[in-house]
């Protein structure tokens, strides 16, 4: 690594840490109904939305109604996106005359975008027209991210309120997240990206003659707007198949920095919002620190793996699958951030990462997408681990474990276990299935442990709602489209429902006042405990599979064998 690389990494994290309290504080104002700067700009739109939909913005509901509203809303979105793909030829804004999508691909894509996964079994520019991209996918990019925030808000209210069953209003939370957070930030980011050369048009694909005289079709389209939200909303679904490695998506080093920052910005800032809403910014920073430590640990291992010499290539830099415009450091910084944050956009091909860097990317997802994680989703996933940590370690201080004054009892533990169990169930069982049957194995591009890693990565990505892939896997098949689709659904709602149940149950509890006998959750000891529990639970669950994938591949590579 050069000094320049190190400066870039430091710059990136300084910006992230610096912006966290700024945006976090702004979101706190938005979500608690305080006055804020965007109110004069979009306030009329919020009122109009409520009048149009008949929502009473102050009508708070219990966890069941909140969850029911959320599920109905997401189901509607799924059905809509599913149908417009099947009927694409009849729809406008399809200048390339792309045909209707197969039902299983449409199912997979519809699930993928409603669950904030943005796994793309299809190739963007050769499958979906502008109408589906904009009205279907871009809209889902907004609302799926807002859904994550809404769940988080309900959970925070469950933790910070006492002896009530009211958790807020799903529709209000959804509307405010979109109007005041996602929309303004996306507009801002789109403008910046367009200034860097990202395309934003409705032109048909252009056919040009290359210098060699061959003809080439250059895809066009409204890319900047979709890229802005795919980064900010931890969606990750690129406008083009090569995602942010494509020069029209990510043209300059500056656009690269800004897009990377956009991946982590909202999840990171939400930790500050969390602290403010539970009444102690220290609590928010504690959660941030745990996430940050895990992120840095993964980054260091990946960078080490990429920069250390591959005996086969001697000391040549490993540029396979990377954009020369960005180089190793920026590719790894992106790959670590995008997998940690459940984003899934890429600026380098994860399939070509060195085995250990690939393992870190995979493990970031397997740990439950809690290292910043998806918008809202990362933090509510982290609270699940906090509950488990508090329960195990809290007993050791000799009291019934409690978090922020709320006792952690059988119900919370049960729901937390379900939320941890479901994604792991998806990863392990589907990977096992795919690695023993022909439809699973036939999609592999590579043999040996790397082929296995491709399968494992795909289901981890689905279960964690990440969306990135070891692209060696040809996943646009009936088997993969359906199983991955189911995996994404389970990974999303198999966590949201238990989290909402926890929120509802905790809201009804009293708050035990702080004393010297309280197990503190805002100090270094707790942060290291939390990190330890995440690593131990995730590590113990996946160690056997990882050892048969990237670990053995790494050992073999050092012995001079690759796949």
């Amino acid at each position: 690594m050069t000094t320049q690389d190190i400066i870039q990494v430091i710059l990136f994290f300084s910006l992230l840490i610096g912006l966290t309290p700024v945006l976090g504080n702004y979101m706190y104002k938005v979500f608690t109904g305080n006055k804020h700067v965007m109110l004069p700009v979009f306030g009329w739109l919020e009122k109009l939305t409520y009048r149009f939909t008949g929502v009473n913005p102050d009508g708070e509901t219990n966890w069941k109604s909140y969850t029911f509203g959320l599920l109905i809303f997401n189901l509607t979105g799924f059905v809509f996106v599913f149908l417009i793909q099947l009927l694409q030829v009849f729809l406008p804004l399809n200048p390339a005359h792309l045909p209707n999508v197969s039902w299983h691909s449409a199912f997979n894509t519809a699930v993928s975008f409603t669950t904030n996964t943005n796994w793309q079994g299809y190739s963007g520019e050769t499958t979906l027209g502008y109408f589906v991209q904009m009205i279907g996918l871009t809209v889902q990019n907004f609302v799926s991210a807002a859904t994550g925030i809404a769940v988080l808000l309900a959970l925070i209210r469950g933790i910070s309120r006492k002896t009530t069953e009211k958790l807020g209003n799903f529709w209000t939370d959804l509307t405010r997240s979109i109007l005041y957070v996602l929309l303004p930030l996306s507009i801002l980011l789109s403008v910046i990206l367009v200034s860097q050369g990202v395309i934003q048009n409705f032109k048909p694909y252009e056919t040009i003659k290359t210098l060699q005289g061959a003809t080439q079709v250059i895809p066009m389209g409204p890319a900047a707007s979709q890229i802005a939200i795919k980064q900010l909303g931890t969606n990750g679904g690129g406008f083009f198949n090569t995602n942010s490695a494509h020069p029209f998506e990510n043209p300059t080093p500056f656009s690269n920095l800004i897009e990377m920052l956009a991946i982590l910005l909202i999840p990171s800032s939400l930790t500050y919002t969390y602290g403010k809403m539970v009444g102690s910014t220290r609590q928010g920073w504690a959660v941030f620190s745990a996430m940050f430590i895990l992120l840095i640990a993964g980054l260091v291992i990946s960078l080490y793996a990429e920069y250390s010499a591959n005996p086969i290539f001697r000391h040549l830099p490993r540029m396979e699958g990377k954009e020369t415009r960005f180089g190793i450091t920026n590719s790894i910084l992106w790959s670590t951030s995008t997998t940690a944050a459940s984003n899934g956009s890429v600026n380098a091909m994860h399939d070509s990462l060195s085995p250990l860097a690939g393992m870190v990317a995979m493990l970031n997802i397997m740990l439950g997408e809690v290292i910043f994680g998806g918008v809202g989703a990362g933090l509510y996933g982290m609270v699940i681990f906090i509950i488990l940590t508090v329960f195990i370690a809290g007993l050791m201080v000799g009291r019934t474990p409690e978090y922020l004054g709320k006792k952690i009892e059988a119900f919370e533990v049960q729901m937390a276990i379900i939320a941890v169990l479901v994604p792991n169930f998806v990863i392990l069982l589907f990977s096992a299935w795919a690695s023993v049957i022909n439809p699973g194995l036939s999609g592999l591009n590579n043999s040996g442990p790397h082929g296995f890693s491709e399968i494992l990565y795909a289901y981890s990505s689905a279960a964690g709602n990440n969306g990135s892939a070891f692209a060696g896997l040809n996943a646009n098949t009936l088997f993969y489209n359906v199983t991955l689709g189911i995996g994404m659904l389970l990974g999303r709602f198999g966590v949201i429902i238990p989290v909402m149940a926890i929120a509802g149950n905790m809201a009804g509890k009293k708050i035990t006042p702080l004393s010297a006998g309280t197990f503190r959750t805002d100090n270094g000891l707790f942060i290291s405990l939390l990190v330890g529990v995440i690593l131990i639970v995730g590590g113990l669950t996946h160690f056997p599979a990882l050892s048969l994938g990237p670990i053995v591949e790494h050992l073999l590579m050092n012995g001079g064998i690759t796949f």
């Binding site: 195990i392 007993l395 201080v397 533990v413 792991n424 690695s435 004393s515 006998g517 309280t518 996946h542």
Partner: protein, 692 residues
């Protein structure tokens, strides 16, 4: 009860019984209550069947047999830990049962006395007990007073007084009247008496899982499910890797090896010891002569963060002591001391006695015989609120010496046409402010001075409150004294807060307020008027000497009737929770080493070249002898760690009154870091022994 003689963990009789019980507990209906161990049992059974099938097919596998044997031992060891904890309770129950002999009772039917069997007595029946009778059942004295030998339940040989009315009216079935005669109304149905319930509790017969135990069981079951997933999917991953390395699929992992891996990963250590920890918590309370009506109560004791403590008896010694004589103007201190002593010579109250002692110590005024002085004693009465003596001097004139409260003496002096001086008033209010009780002494119409009576705060109580504060527990002193007095004593004792001039209903209100603010409240009480507060408190400890109503209302009974017991109870509760947390952490941390033993062992040949040693052998950081010995060592370690930790489960982790943070740091180091390291050493040692 014999609980004071600490039942040794390794009593041979208990050990033997526990060994037999651990086999009886293989009954699936009992095993299923413990999901983690139930999984191990199913695994053991499967492995055994495979061994037997192998024998019939002519390819007997000694390796599988060894795995089967050690898996069964894992189940047996877990059963054993529970059995030994129960055994200790049973030993105590047996000693209780000895005292519950078949007794006859005299039942009052109208005016007739009918002899009946104690077992036939119903709630509400009236019986008569005389000297030498065993009290047939729990009840309340409705007439008379008697001394009762309660050693059968308390182990205390000194008899106690039981009388109708007041706060000492409850009697317990199985105790013995040693003097006088009392009439008792039976207050419990047959089979549900105090002793019956004690027996049931210590035997663990009615033991239900406590809330925290349920939550922990869910966590353990959840972890087991996750590891089950990890293990059942492994053959698929392994099969892929086999074919990728060019081996036939028939080389895939065998079921016994998978079961061994599963058993090593699921939290068998804490799963096996969980119920032993719970039972021993009850047991440890019993050793302190406290009986909890449920395990839930013990857990709640660990959570209590506000303690309501009665001043008298808990914070101060029951009685006030004279510490000083302050004479009125024109009176020498000796004169005052002499008069005070004379007035107290026949006063048998502790206060009176302390005055006699103080006069003797300070001025060497010796006690004199009252009759010799021609004096007659005037006892304290509620009307006069004074006591003293009338002395007839040589002239035949009667001198009245009185001591009493300031108000009473003023009335007395003024009635004798005397004058109540201002400086006495000043002294009295000064003493009150310091938290003392002033006792004014007068002779006829002249005030002699004031005796300074002081509440004596118990030795060491201040340190205990400081310890409680460190643990995050707030102490509130409850007293009937006025605010001034209460504040002074509160400051001296170091309590966090006090309630002065408190009436029983104030206690109840205070508890509700604290609970509304999220606190868990513990209190100790004895009287009938304490019953509502005892019932409202999260931990209500009734003194055994108290009324039946109080004993019914509380969720614990202190057989020693010692008010400071509350502090002990809190410790036991905290220790119980700590032990669970510590062993859970230990159990999970253990898994790291087991992976490093088993994964390289099973994956040794994968992607191997000609030498048969694949790259994953690099994970064999312990350098275990062979793949088979590695798996065996992990399984054996997993089994014997349960037995090794039984004493810890029964005794509880070491408990010190420190803040949550230092307790956590210490336990994390010992059980978290220790839990990661210990199996590396243990498995390596076992492997060395196997490969000898």
């Amino acid at each position: 009860m014999s609980s004071k003689q600490n039942t040794s963990i390794f009593n041979r009789k208990i050990l033997f019984k526990a060994a037999i019980d651990s086999v009886i507990k293989l009954n699936p209906a009992l095993l299923i209550k413990n999901p983690v161990i139930f999984i191990v049992a199913i695994g053991s059974l499967l492995t055994t069947i495979m061994v037997l099938a192998g024998i019939f097919q002519g390819n007997f596998s000694p390796f599988n047999l060894q795995i089967a044997v050690w898996l069964w031992f894992t189940v047996l060891f877990a059963n054993f830990s529970e059995a030994i904890a129960e055994g200790r309770g049973k030993a105590q129950a047996d000693s209780l049962r000895k005292n519950r002999t078949q007794t006859k009772a005299l039942k009052l039917v109208g005016k007739q006395q009918v002899p009946v069997w104690a077992n036939d007595l119903k709630k509400g029946d009236i019986v008569i007990c005389e000297t030498g009778d065993i009290i047939p059942s729990d009840g309340e004295v409705i007439e008379g007073i008697a001394s009762v030998d309660e050693s059968a339940i308390t182990g205390e040989s000194a008899p106690v007084i039981r009388e109708s009315g007041g706060d000492r009216s409850a009697v317990t079935g199985g105790t013995k009247v040693i003097s006088d005669r009392i009439i008792i109304r039976i207050t419990s149905e047959p089979g549900n008496t105090f002793i019956d319930r004690m027996i049931a509790l210590v035997e663990g017969a009615k033991r239900q899982k406590t809330p925290n135990e349920i939550a922990l069981s869910i966590l353990l079951s959840g972890l087991s499910m996750i590891f089950l997933l990890t293990v059942v999917t492994l053959p698929a991953f392994f099969g892929y890797s086999l074919s990728a390395s060019g081996f036939p699929g028939s080389h895939n992992l065998t079921i016994p090896v998978l079961i061994a891996l599963l058993v090593c990963l699921i939290p068998t250590t804490i799963g096996g010891l969980l119920s032993a920890i719970g039972i021993s918590g009850m047991d440890r309370l019993l050793q302190r002569n406290v009986i909890a009506t449920s395990g839930r109560a013990i857990e709640a004791a660990g959570d209590v963060d506000v303690l309501l403590l009665d001043k008298t008896g808990t914070i101060t010694l029951g009685n006030r002591m004279a510490t000083d004589f302050i004479p009125a103007e024109g009176v020498t201190v000796e004169e005052l001391a002499d008069a005070a002593q004379i007035s107290s010579l026949s006063d048998e109250t502790p206060e009176g006695r302390s005055i006699v002692v103080l006069a003797k110590e300070k001025f060497n005024i010796r006690g004199r015989d009252v009759h010799h002085l021609n004096a007659s004693f005037i006892p304290f009465s509620a009307q006069s609120r004074m006591s003293g003596v009338d002395i007839r001097d040589s002239d035949g004139k009667v001198h009245q010496i009185r001591k009493g409260s300031s108000d009473a003496i003023r009335t007395f002096v003024q009635n004798n046409n005397g004058f109540y001086p201002q400086n006495i008033k000043d002294i009295v209010s000064g003493l009150s402010r310091q938290g003392a009780t002033p006792l004014v002494v007068a002779e006829d119409n002249k005030v002699l001075g004031v005796v300074h009576l002081k509440d004596i705060v118990k030795g060491g109580i201040k340190q205990r409150f400081a310890e409680l504060r460190k643990m995050g527990i707030k102490t509130v002193m409850i007293t009937g004294d006025n605010t001034l007095t209460a504040a002074a004593i509160a400051a001296e004792a170091g309590v966090d807060d006090f309630m002065a001039e408190a009436k029983p209903e104030d206690k109840l209100r205070r508890i509700r307020e604290e609970q509304a603010n999220g606190h868990l409240v513990g209190m100790i009480g004895d009287g009938t008027n304490d019953a509502p507060a005892l019932a409202q408190a999260d931990i209500g400890i009734a003194m055994n000497s108290g009324t039946q109503a109080a004993r019914e209302a509380g969720n614990m009974v202190d057989l020693d009737s010692n008010p400071t017991k509350l502090i002990e109870v809190v410790k036991v509760g905290k220790q119980l929770l700590m032990t669970r947390g510590a062993l859970t952490t230990f159990s999970i941390a253990n898994d790291v080493a087991k992976y490093f033993a088993i994964i390289p062992a099973i994956a040794l040949s994968l992607y191997s070249g000609k030498n048969g040693v694949g790259p994953l052998s690099a994970l064999n950081v312990m350098h275990l002898g062979s793949p088979q010995s590695a798996i065996m060592s992990a399984v054996i370690f997993n089994a014997i760690i349960i037995i090794l930790l039984v004493p810890l489960a029964l005794k509880g982790v070491r408990y010190r009154p420190v803040s949550a943070k230092s307790a956590l740091t210490r336990n994390l180091l010992v059980f978290g870091v220790g839990g990661i390291l210990a199996p590396f050493i243990g498995i390596k040692l076992i492997d060395l022994i196997i490969n000898l």
